[in-house]
Every structure is written in C-alpha cells, then in structure tokens.
C-alpha cells in the first residue's frame, strides 16, 4: 500500500530507540521492567492507532497505565480469593 504515515509499531520502536541511552543507564533489573512498559504498550497497538493522535506516545503511556491497572486488578482479585480462603 506504500503507507505515508509510519505505523504505531514503528513509532514505538523509534521512541524506544530514542530512549536507549536512558535504558542503558538503568540497572539490569530496572531495564527488564522498562522493557515491560513497552511490551504493555504493544498489547494495545490497535487501540493507539484508532486514537488518531498527533502524539501517539501519549496514548502509548495510557496503554502502559492500563496494563498496570489491569495487573493490579488481577492481583487484588487473587488477594481477595486468598483472603476468603484463609478466613
């Protein structure tokens, strides 16, 4: 199709590349978590694309937050279940 606008996948890769000095300076353990943030954003590429934003990385940050919130919700549920079991 010869797209003019670069894809969200490409934009995320470019941003990640731009932040590579930042990532490099992080401790090894933090680097893994940092990569996880981008992995979280990549789970929502379709939604970020649909947002049609001039600055898609803003939406990507929201996607990272969403994944964190989801993880918290899952953990809370598990905690509830364990608590119920203990009681």
């Amino acid at each position: 199709m010869g797209r003019t606008v670069i894809t969200i996948t490409q934009q995320l890769t470019e941003t990640e590349g731009m932040l590579s000095p930042f990532r490099r300076t992080l401790r090894r353990g933090d680097q893994y978590i940092f990569d996880g943030l981008f992995a979280a954003a990549r789970r929502h590429i379709a939604a970020i694309g649909q947002a049609e934003s001039l600055l898609p990385f803003e939406t990507a940050l929201l996607a990272m937050l969403l994944e964190q919130a989801k993880e918290i919700a899952v953990l809370q549920q598990e905690l509830e279940q364990l608590r119920t079991k203990c009681e």
């Binding site: 797209r3 606008v5 992995a39 934003s53 001039l54 899952v74």
Partner: protein, 722 residues
C-alpha cells in the same frame, strides 16, 4: 447464411485484417472463423494539439471523428475518435501517435482485444454462442450463456500433457512423458529428428485444445524451435499454422513487498499452452480455476494461468467501463488529494489488527466476515469516483451510498454473488461428489480476484485507482470490526483476537457451533455484511514474540477444531523457507496435540510429542533423513553483486553461477547447510550426508518446536470484573 453453435476458445487479431475466432462446436469440430472488427481509440487534450494530430492522421488508413465520451473522473469530454479497420494495426499507430503527441490524453488504446470483442458482442471466452456465417466470415454472434452462470455447460477439451523426466534446469532430460486421455507413453529425446517427427505426428493425431506441460515455457518450446531449425523440420505447435509461437521474455518484478521472478512464456494460437511450472496459482486452483478466471475476466486462459489476479481484476474493470460507455485511460490520472496532517493520520490506516491474549484458550469460535473488503465496496458504494466528493466534516470520506453505483462496485457485485453461490453449492454437496473439487477450484480462483481488488484501489498504476477509495474501505472495515466487538461483548463474550476480517471469541459454556448463532445473527444485523463461522476450536494458541515473551504477535496462531482438524497460521509449518524435515515434524507434533480436547488436556500429550521429536533427531544423526527433506529454499532479493555480506541463498547462487547457471532476483534458491557453509542443491555433485551441519538443522527444529511448546507456558488472564 449458415450458423454454428459452440464454445469460444480463442480470439486474436488476424494479421490479414479483422480477428480470428476459434469455435469448439457441439459436433466436436474446431473451426477457425474470421470476423471484421474495426477498433477505435480516443485522443483528448488542447484543441490546437488535437488539430495537429488530426492533420498527422488524415492521410492514414483511419476514420477520424469528433465525439463526446465519458471520462470516469472528468465527466463528458470532447475527443477525437480514431477508428482503424484492423485491430492488429492499433498498437503500431498508437505507439507512433503517442510519440508524436505525448501531451495528449489517450483512451481505449491498450485494451486487450478479447475485452473489446466481449464488450462489443456480448459473447465471452469459454462461453456458448451461436455464430451466423457468410462465406466463412462471421456476420453476427448470439451469446447463449452468461459468464456469471454458476454451473456453465462443461467444455470437452482435448488435453495433451508433456513433461520431461527431470527438471531441465538441473539435469539434461532424456525423454518426455506424454499423456493423452488414458494413454501414457515416453518419447525419447534422442535422436532429435525422430523425436520431432513423433511429436509432430502426435500433435496432428490428437489435435489437442490444450498442451499442458512442465517447463514448456522455459525449456520445451524454446528447445523445440531450436531443434526444428537444426534438423530442418517444419514444426509449428499452433493450431493456426499461419501464426508463430508468441514468446515473452523472462522478467523479475517487485510486487507485494517481494521480488518475483517470472520465467519466459510461450503462447499458442488456436490452442492453449499452459506450463504448470510457470503458472502462478496452478497448485491452488489448477485448470478449472484458470478457466473460471478467464471466463469472468475476459482474458484468455493462457494469460490468466500466468498472470497475477491483479491483471484479471484490471481487465474486469476495463470491461465494466467499456460496457458503460466509460473510456479507459492509458495512464492513471488520479493522484492523492491534499490533506492536512491530522487528516492524513486519520486516513492512512490499514485494517484493524488486534494483539491477541497470549496463550492457549478454548473452546473458542472463529467468526469471519465473508469477502469483507469487496462486500464493503459493494454495500457502501466505494469506488474512486464516488468517494470523497461530498464529505464535509467527515474525517475519512467514504462512498456516497445514494450516488449511482460506482465502477468498482458494479464490477465486483456479480463476482461476490457468484462466489457466494459457488460456496453455497459446495455446502449442499456431499464432499465425495466429484463436482466438489471443481467447484472448490473455481471458488478459490474467484477468491483471489476478490482479494486483490482492494489492493488495486490504492495501487499507484491502477487505471481506476484512487488512494482515498482504498482508505475508505479500511476505514469502514475498522468501524465494522469495532461494531462486531461491541456486539460480542454486549452478549458476554471475551474477544481474544481480531484480525482484519475475523474475530476469535470465547464465553464459558459456549462450546458447540450452534451456541454462537445468536452472536452471528446480531453481528450481521448490526453491520449488514455477511459472516460465517469458520469453526469452533477445542483449543487455540496465540503466540508471543520470540524477542519478548510479553508481546503478543497478531499473525501467528494454531489450534484444533472440534473435529480435530488443525488450523495453523504464520508458524514454521506455513513458511516456504522451512525444510520439509522440520515442517513434517512440526505437523506430526501438532497432530499429536490435536487429540487434546481442551487446553488443560494438552500437557497429557506432551511426553508423546517430545519422544517423537527426539526420535527424529536420532534419525538425522544416523543419516536416515533423505537429503531432499533438508533442502532450505530462499528467494534472492537482489542481484548477486548487490549483496554486501551474502545470505546463505546468495552463497548457494554464487556456486550455481560458477557452473554457468543464470541467476535472477526473485528466483528461489535451494541449498543444504553444511559444516563449511552451504551446498547448492542444483549442483551436479551430490552432497555426502556426513558433511551436513547437523547442529544447524537441530537449531532449526528446536526453534520450530519452541514455537509450539512455549505457547503452553502461560496464558493471559483478564480480571473477572470485566
């Protein structure tokens, strides 16, 4: 005046004037008929230039007229109509005129003759018709069927099959396998003279309508010509002996993101020649498919067997234009309209591709929109001339549904309907019915035309393409997918994945196909586009990226339907560059796993799968794997000089070049991995299996197995509050 009824096999320009038609009559005769057939093309532009062109042409054997004709985008246009008495003269005159007057716009100048013929007479290739003759010349033609007929009367073709004993690119063939009906025999190629005489006699005796060959384009027909010259024997494989074999040179071109190599071609007149090794989709739909495409596109069977479906869809658009009084421009005129940055960001999107929830899920239903993009073009009247004209305030302009039906929907509507009718017919048939295979091939051939029609809306060289119409289709498709997702979620389903035109949904307690009927009905009601249940998976695995296990990949999955049938996409098994050895093992492993009735049961089958993999590794180590199964196939993406560090395929190609083989970009190169690099498969010297790089093959296998087995490691979960 007498008349004949039969099927139209071939149409081409007669160098003596007019056109030649070959009719296969009901009495099994093959008639060469002649018909007068003037051909017209048009020139338009600035008045002064047109006048000069008129002066240039007035003393030539042409009829010149001033006319008003319709341009799809510009509307009615004053044009100079140039009519030639013989269509064979048109390409020469047009080339001359366009050289003299390059700034004029030209129309209808490069339309294949068969399309002109179909538009003018209503008869079509492979169609049944009645011709009225006077002194051997056709005075009138009456079509007796339509190319949209779902079950046309079968044509009884005489087929002669010729194939050499070995691939001539690798070894020198010793004989030809010949087959005609039930008769099979070998013809020795030596001595050449005797071979030629025998083959010539066979051609005269059988008088085939179709010569089906292996390597006919690239080896047999060029060789026959050389041998005939050397032996001083007249040998013309055409049924029309006034013509010579039409030869086209080999070429490499860039399409759909890859370099494609197309071998030389040899076309016949009065009968067809198809080289199975040089026919684009022979493996997928064979002769029946090529004939179906010829029937609906109006291009000859020999053309359609070798050309991409894109050429077919272009021909269909030309035919629609001709039938509706629209001129066909020689060059594309529509460029992309101006857009603001935000408009561009909104418009320049493809289909909706979700990131699936990683892991194994089940039971899961896959629901597909049937021919989604063509259906959207037809339903929403999306065509280059209907899109974007009045779309004020609409971010991505879509087709105007109240406008007259556009050229593209008009072209596609009968195609979509015919494919649906064929598929419905197939559903009613017992799978063992002998008609099933033919119907499947025809449906597949039509599917490919529908698949490419969308791409051609945005293709830079398409005559009737315009990027905005291309964008409109994807914009509507994304909206429909979101509507489908919302409908599914409203009914309590979890949408595991969405990929352009299909959804994977799951809900506890929904296990049988009938459980999903209410959902499907709701989606059809909401979107207005037909959908079909591809099937219900007992389990399906969505994979993660090999680089980061936390990132899902949208186009790689595999699973087993309720009846145990596997569906596999994007993994090694489906890739052309995977060795047969790895592919077979991956398939067996998946078949072992397909016995599991749920994701939970999968682990029960793992020990059997792992034992099988180990046994296959032992076979390789012991030299028990045929070398053929270890061949790696890779395409050359560039000329050999263009590699900075040659890929394994390029290194194998260099070995072949060293023994005098000609290598072109796009060609597929076969090789084996050896301890010292690669060994090109086509080298005369056979590789000693002890030189194989076993470690490399093990790592290829391990990688393929990792794809399957890693998917069971973890599965994404969603919080229950959803």
């Amino acid at each position: 005046m007498n008349e004949q009824t039969g099927w139209l096999l071939d149409v081409y320009a007669d160098p003596e004037g007019g056109i030649v038609l070959w009719l296969l009559t009901k009495a099994d005769q093959r008639l060469r008929l002649h018909m007068k057939f003037p051909a017209t093309f048009y020139a338009a532009g600035e008045f002064g230039l047109l006048r000069q062109a008129w002066i240039y042409l007035k003393d030539k054997d042409v009829k010149l007229e001033r006319a008003t004709r319709r341009d799809l985008f510009l509307g009615e246009r004053e044009v100079m109509a140039i009519t030639l008495p013989h269509p064979s003269l048109l390409p020469i005159l047009f080339a001359d005129l366009s050289r003299q007057f390059p700034s004029l716009d030209y129309y209808d100048a490069d339309i294949p003759l068969s399309l002109r013929f179909i538009a003018q007479t209503g008869a079509h290739l492979l169609g049944k018709c009645r011709v009225f003759l006077d002194d051997g010349t056709i005075q009138a033609i009456q079509p007796l069927d339509s190319h949209w007929e779902v079950e046309p009367a079968p044509i009884s073709l005489r087929i002669l099959t010729l194939s050499p004993d070995v691939n001539p690119a690798i070894h020198r063939p010793a004989f030809l396998h010949v087959q005609y009906n039930q008769k099979k025999y070998k013809l020795s190629l030596e001595p050449t003279r005797a071979f030629l005489i025998s083959l010539k006699a066979d051609l005269q005796r059988f008088d085939p309508d179709l010569i089906l060959t292996d390597y006919g384009d690239t080896w047999l027909f060029p060789q026959l010509e050389t041998w005939a010259k050397e032996c001083g024997i007249e040998f013309n494989p055409n049924r029309d002996e006034s013509k010579e074999v039409l030869k086209r040179r080999a070429d490499s071109y860039f399409a759909y993101g890859q370099v494609v190599y197309r071998g030389a071609q040899a076309h016949l007149f009065g009968r067809w020649h198809i080289d199975r090794k040089n026919a684009m989709s022979w493996g997928e739909y064979g002769l029946e498919g090529a004939m179906e495409q010829a029937r609906v596109t109006g291009l000859g069977v020999q053309e359609m067997a070798r050309k991409s479906p894109g050429a077919g869809i272009t021909a269909m658009q030309m035919l629609t234009a001709l039938r509706n009084g629209i001129m066909v421009p020689v060059q594309k005129q529509q460029v992309e309209g101006t857009k603001t940055l935000i408009e561009l960001i909104r418009a320049d999107h493809g289909g909706l591709i979700y990131q699936p929830l990683i892991g194994v899920h089940g039971p899961v239903a896959q629901i597909d929109f049937s021919s989604m993009y063509p259906a959207i073009m037809v339903k929403h009247n999306i065509s280059p001339e209907t899109v974007g004209r009045v779309a004020e305030g609409v971010p991505t302009p879509v087709g105007q549904e109240d406008a007259p039906e556009g050229l593209i929907p008009k072209t596609l509507r009968p195609l979509v309907e015919k494919r649906l009718a064929l598929k419905n017919l197939l559903l009613e048939l017992d799978p063992r019915d002998c008609r099933a295979e033919v119907l499947k091939a025809r449906a597949a051939a039509l599917k490919w035309l529908l698949v490419v029609c969308f791409g051609y809306l945005g293709y830079k060289n398409a005559r009737f393409g315009k990027i905005e119409s291309h964008e409109a289709v994807t914009a509507v498709s994304r909206e429909l997918m979101l509507q489908a997702k919302e409908v599914a979620e409203d009914l309590g389903f979890t949408v595991l994945h969405m990929y352009v035109d299909c959804l994977f949904v799951q809900q506890e307690g929904y296990e049988r196909p009938a459980d999903f009927t209410p959902l499907m009905e709701a989606i059809v009601t909401k979107t207005g586009i037909p959908i079909a249940l591809e099937g219900v998976f007992k389990w399906v695995a969505f994979l993660s990226s090999k680089q980061d296990k936390r990132v899902p990949v949208p186009n790689q999955y595999f699973g087993a339907f309720l009846d145990g049938t596997l569906k596999v996409r994007g993994i090694e098994l489906r890739r052309r560059d995977t060795t047969t050895w790895v592919r077979k093992i991956q398939l067996v492993v998946l078949n072992i796993l397909s016995q599991a009735n749920s994701p939970e049961e999968l682990t029960d089958y793992l020990p059997t799968a792992l034992a099988y993999i180990e046994s296959k590794k032992r076979d390789l180590r012991a030299g028990r794997v045929p070398l053929e199964e270890l061949i790696v196939r890779q395409k050359l993406s560039r000329v050999l000089d263009g590699y900075k560090s040659p890929s394994p395929a390029a290194r194998a190609a260099l070995q072949l070049q060293a023994i005098g083989r000609e290598i072109a970009p796009g060609q597929s190169i076969e090789f084996l991995f050896t301890r010292d690099g690669v060994h090109a498969w086509e080298l005369d010297e056979r590789l000693d299996s002890r030189r194989l790089d076993i470690t490399r093959y093990f790592s290829l296998l391990d990688r393929a197995m990792q794809t399957v087995l890693d998917s069971f490691a973890s599965t994404d979960t969603l919080p229950r509050l959803l």
